[in-house]
């Protein structure tokens, strides 16, 4: 761990950067886990699905607030040179270019997801869903960023937090993957194949009694037309053989 140097303000800023980063990571973990759970239709009587979704949205909002603080303090702090540009454009920071860059990408994706959700009623459902899939990348990038950039990486407490967050996301992910609803289209195919009552067709043209009737009558010998009595159905399909 780098010893606190220079001014007290730098130290305070330094702690703030790390602290807000860790809190943001925990909130991001929470929102990711909730998102995976509601996508896999996990619900109990005391934890209805809409409440999970509600918490998921609020956690994301709070994560964005803490991320904002994290970024601002990192830019303001002069000890490490992370410029304003690096906050939004990945891999432009002179300090730990790669690891900061991962964090930048994560924030960019998160902003895209958050903005599209804010505009959800105005955009097509498919567009919203497409952008939301990017959310899957947010958490792993954020975790990698914090382990690679964070100077607390060697500390036990940081390891513990990282381990718990990772475990939570993995469990939720496994549940999500295991929950694959058969699409309704496929459901129709499955439903049609079982026939508990045996269907034994008469030998016919393609098992089609109506079509067979049509075919049969074409070969019947001709008969003179019956007198057109009123209110009787007329026999059709009496044709002369060709």
């Amino acid at each position: 761990m780098l010893a606190a140097t220079s001014t007290t303000m730098t130290t305070t800023l330094w702690y703030t950067i790390r602290a807000t980063g860790v809190v943001a990571l925990i909130l991001l973990t929470l929102t990711t886990v909730l998102g995976l759970l509601s996508a896999s239709r996990a619900r109990t009587r005391r934890w209805p699905a809409f409440a999970q979704v509600d918490l998921h949205k609020r956690a994301t909002l709070f994560a964005l607030v803490f991320l904002g603080l994290h970024i601002v303090t990192a830019v303001v702090d002069t000890y490490v040179s992370v410029g304003v540009l690096s906050a939004l454009v990945p891999f432009t920071s002179p300090f730990k270019t790669f690891w900061i860059g991962l964090g930048t990408i994560s924030v960019d994706l998160l902003l895209a997801v958050a903005i599209s959700s804010a505009l959800r009623q105005r955009i097509a459902p498919r567009t919203w869903r497409g952008i939301h899939w990017l959310a899957y990348a947010c958490w792993p990038l954020a975790m990698a960023h914090s382990l690679g950039t964070g100077t607390d990486a060697a500390q036990v407490w940081m390891d513990a937090i990282a381990a718990v967050c990772t475990a939570a996301v993995l469990v939720a992910l496994v549940r999500r993957i295991g929950y694959q609803r058969t699409s309704r289209r496929e459901q129709v195919r499955f439903g049609a194949t079982t026939t508990a009552v045996p269907v034994r067709h008469r030998p016919a043209v393609g098992g089609d009694p109506a079509g067979r009737a049509l075919a049969d009558s074409a070969t019947r010998t001709a008969r003179p037309p019956t007198s057109t009595a009123t209110n009787t159905a007329t026999r059709l399909l009496e044709r002369h053989p060709r």
């Binding site: 699409s183 129709v188 439903g191 049609a192 508990a196 009694p209 109506a210 049509l214 009787t232 026999r235």
Partner: protein, 433 residues
């Protein structure tokens, strides 16, 4: 226009004339029915006269919907753009062969009707839809189209082959297929708003309806109404099959009592029930077999006119088993769009199969009714509604059998070969869920 009107009950499918057998070719058609002068340019007076005649005739759709034909034309002509006329000859109903018969033996009547509809509605294009497993019918229409192409000034007609599934014949599904090759019915809140292909309104009519139009335009509304009843005028085609000696397509006057209709095809034994209106229609009990074959009287006894289909089920078959098979087939024909249909229909089929086999638990009858009530009206189209109606009517008509089966006693009819056709269920259309 001096060709005499055809005899009373032989209008759509003429088997012979005084000169001998008739063929489906154009020359024979013209000598039988006379020429039909359809203006090649917009002619308001003619269009209005034809429309009035059609409205006066009271012709209703023959594809199962039963809506007044003139009403559809009204909605389409008011929309301002040149519409498209679609001839629906899909005939997804397995027990029906009438549209096939029309295309095979009177294709020119159908095409005449389409031309008239196009001229009145201001359309410049006609599309004939024939299912992709009906090559003979498609061939017959294509030959007829070629014969007509030689005449000047006609409306271009193309023949297309949508996939053969039950719901593809539903008009919004058919238009969806023409638009983007995805034959799934649409949720239609207001049926008076015409369907659209892009911006063009589409006028979809069953092949038989158009054939009737061709006759009304030639011989007039009064002639059309000279048979049938005042509420249900004219003739209609019915495919009668099942336990009968001479199954086939009959042309009947609307209002003919059902037993007279059935007597012509010579049933082979005592009747347990009749399926009327198609697989999504309703069962008719032997006690009601004297009901006139028309929409109103059939509805009054819990049945429906639907598509012109009557299947005769004898006492040697098991009505419950046949109902189970039909339900299972219809479940496999779902478009796969709506949960209640996708999950509800197979569940009802399962219950019926167990009931037919005498393996069901005590609450099965109540469960079937509960599931029917749950599924009814909760899909985007009327497919599940039809199945529910059919199942409920089966529980009424075969009620005694149902109760015996529920008590654990299947009947000997269980193993009798089915009287119904079940084409293999093809995968539901479209991508995604």
């Amino acid at each position: 226009m001096t060709t005499a009107a055809p005899p009373r009950s032989e209008r759509l499918l003429r088997t012979s004339s005084s000169d001998g057998p008739v063929g489906p070719d154009l020359a024979t058609h013209l000598s039988l029915h006379g020429p039909l002068a359809v203006p090649t340019r917009d002619d308001r007076e003619w269009s209005h006269a034809v429309w009035s005649e059609l409205a006066a005739s009271g012709l209703t759709g023959r594809g199962g919907g039963g809506f007044p034909a003139a009403g559809k034309w009204d909605a389409v002509t008011r929309s301002g753009r040149r519409p498209l006329v679609v001839v629906n000859a899909m005939e997804g109903e397995p027990a029906s062969a009438k549209d096939r018969a029309l295309l095979t033996w009177s294709p020119h009547l159908v095409l005449d009707g389409a031309e008239v509809a196009a001229a009145v509605a201001g359309a410049k294009e006609i599309v004939v839809c024939v299912a992709d497993d009906r090559d003979p019918s498609a061939g017959a229409v294509e030959r007829a189209v070629l014969e007509r192409a030689a005449r000047p000034g006609g409306c271009p007609v193309s023949v297309v082959r949508p996939p053969a599934r039950y719901v593809t014949g539903e008009e919004s599904a058919l238009v969806a297929w023409l638009d983007h090759r995805d034959a799934r019915p649409a949720l239609r809140v207001d049926k008076s708003v015409p369907l659209r292909l892009g911006r063009r309104p589409v006028l979809v009519h069953n092949a038989e309806t158009l054939a009737q139009v061709a006759l009304v335009v030639r011989h007039g509304a009064a002639w059309f109404r000279s048979i049938g009843t005042s509420d249900a005028p004219g003739s209609t085609l019915v495919t009668v099959s099942g336990a009968v000696a001479r199954p086939g397509v009959l042309e009947v006057e609307l209002g003919t009592p059902v037993d007279q209709l059935v007597a012509r095809v010579e049933p082979t034994g005592p009747i347990a029930g009749l399926l009327v209106g198609g697989y999504g229609g309703a069962w008719l009990a032997p006690a009601h077999v004297g009901t006139p074959y028309a929409a109103g009287p059939l509805a009054a006894v819990g049945a429906t006119l639907g598509v012109g289909v009557v299947v005769v089920v004898p006492t040697t078959s098991c009505g419950i088993a046949e109902t189970a098979r039909i339900t299972r087939y219809m479940a496999g024909e779902s478009a796969g769009q709506c949960g209640p249909c996708v999950f509800g229909l197979p569940a009802i089929a399962e219950d019926l199969e167990q009931l037919a086999g005498g393996r069901a638990d005590a609450g099965v009858l109540a469960r079937i009714e509960r599931r029917c009530a749950t599924v009814d009206g909760r899909g985007a189209c009327r497919h599940p509604d039809g199945v529910v109606r059919m199942v409920r009517s089966a529980m009424a008509v075969f009620g005694d059998d149902a109760r015996r089966h529920a008590a654990g006693h299947p009947c000997s009819g269980h193993d009798v070969a089915t009287l119904f056709a079940f084409p293999v269920n093809r995968p539901a259309p479209g991508g995604g869920s």
